[in-house]
Amino acid sequence: MKGLGRSSYLALVFGFLYLPIAVLIIYSFNDAKYSLEWKGFTWNWYQTLWQNDDLIEVALHSLTIALLSATLATIVGTLGAVALYRYQFSGKKLLNGLIFILIMSPEIVMGISLLLLFVTLGMDLGFSTLLLSHTTFSIPFVVVTVLSRMSGFDKFLIEAAKDLGATEFQTFIKVILPLLMPAVVAGWLLSFTLSMDDVIISFFVTGPDYEVLPLKVYSMVRLGVKPEINALSTVMFALTLVLVLLAQFFLKEKK
């Protein structure tokens, strides 16, 4: 009975998380442009999507930026969290404050101020400015998640490693990182999610050569979500799901 209660709670929350996804998948097959009524089954929207090579290109742009920025943010953020937790140095309070400010900054403020910074630095708007911006807004999410796991950490483990002659770097790789892994993974996932969903900051920091998907979707949604967008979301959802399952499968094989 206890196990049943647990499973049903999990199922309930997962149901809540997946219900809108289910709805948008169903509506991607609806034979009506804006209507919310069910007007019959059609593949039409997938055909329209397939002909829209722009959308496919920007979707790839988005995936590239999300993968790279999440990885970069996870590296910088994890190292940063370890530094903030383990070491004393001047300016530590400032860094903590900046992390807080980054989480707090309204998107438009961050978008415009980063744009001004890039323009001042004479950078061309596009891939690099997007990558830097996305990494920047993801870093605090990694730091906070990793720090929360580290607090209350068993300091003796680290001491023990050092007593056995491990260098600082070895201690980090062999002892600290494995202990932090769940938080590192969680931080990466949050960063990837943030990047795939950011509209306003991307709007300001990108140029004509590097459009990203959320921007396209956002401007299309302003005209009412068309089943075409639902079809696109369905395809992306199916792809990510397959990737995730494949990764799972291969990781298990390795073990």
């Binding site: 999990l10 929350v13 997962f14 998380l17 997946y18 809108p20 996804i21 709805v23 948008l24 509506y27 919310l36 009524e37 910088v76 953020g77 190292l79 940063g80 530094a83 140095f89 404050g97 900046l98 807080f100 400010i101 980054l102 989480i103 707090m104 900054s105 309204p106 438009i108 403020v109 415009i112 101020s113 001004l116 870093i139 730091v143 906070v144 998640t145 990793v146 720090l147 929360s148 796991r149 260098t167 600082e168 770097f169 202990l179 769940p182 993974v185 996932l189 949050l190 990837f192 795939m196 969903d197 979707v217 956002y218 949604v221 979500v225 967008i229 979301s233 992306m236 959802f237 995730v244």
Partner: protein
Amino acid sequence: MTDKTVFKRFAIGIIAIWLVLFALVPNLMVIIASFMTQGESEFIVWTPSISSYQRMLDPLYLQVFWNSFYLSAFTTVLCLLIGYPFAYLIARAGPKARPILLLLVIVPFWTSSLVRTYAMIIILNANGLLNSTLLGLGLINEPLQILYTDTAVIAGLVYTLLPFMVLPLYAAIEKLDWRLVEAARDLGARKVRTFVSVIIPLTMPGIVAGSMLVFLPGLGMFYIADFLGGSKTTLIGNLIQRQFLSARDWPFGSAASVTLTVTMGVMIWIYLLSAKRANAKVEV
């Protein structure tokens, strides 16, 4: 130079350089802008003034702050209530199931939040899924007006922010030393008591982290409230966005942003201070 200092310098250096360049410099620009004046054909005129901050004192804007604060706090509490048991159950699942469950939590969020919010409109509207189901089951006689109410807004916010609560919580709960919990049980503590006096304090860092990652971004989030609530309330996020775009008043928009950050900073500082004091008492 010992190897410790090399690694230490590297770890500190990389985050310090990044944050100084991409957080400190842009935010200094925002702070400076907030003390300047609005111009007719320039966003910022270099005449120092504190008028933007004086205007913030208008009761109208205080009300806007309060509305946003209330909405975000309510959302955070709900996310915690729903997310804690959820994260706990995932963390207690078998080691094989854990990563899969974790991924299943995050995968829906790789779909654009706008598109998901739109799907919620389909579910909640007068002739939508929820109403037709309830009508079909005979639980209600007339469609409920949920869309364009606060209920819809809260549901949307909780939905969107839930993973930001669940993931940090999971990371914190997963490392729990279950021997401590067993020990408490062995000492005769009942389940509720074990939970309240052992598990919750041990996972407090996760609770704080999750709440911050929900509450702070939640304050600035406004498009969900606009979509699901019919944009009938001005939130701090709308206000700032409108100052930068429609009103073309960058100094005032910057001042609103700075005020928001400082207010929250002070509140968190007070919280941390009191938490430290409380901890100190316990240890004594």
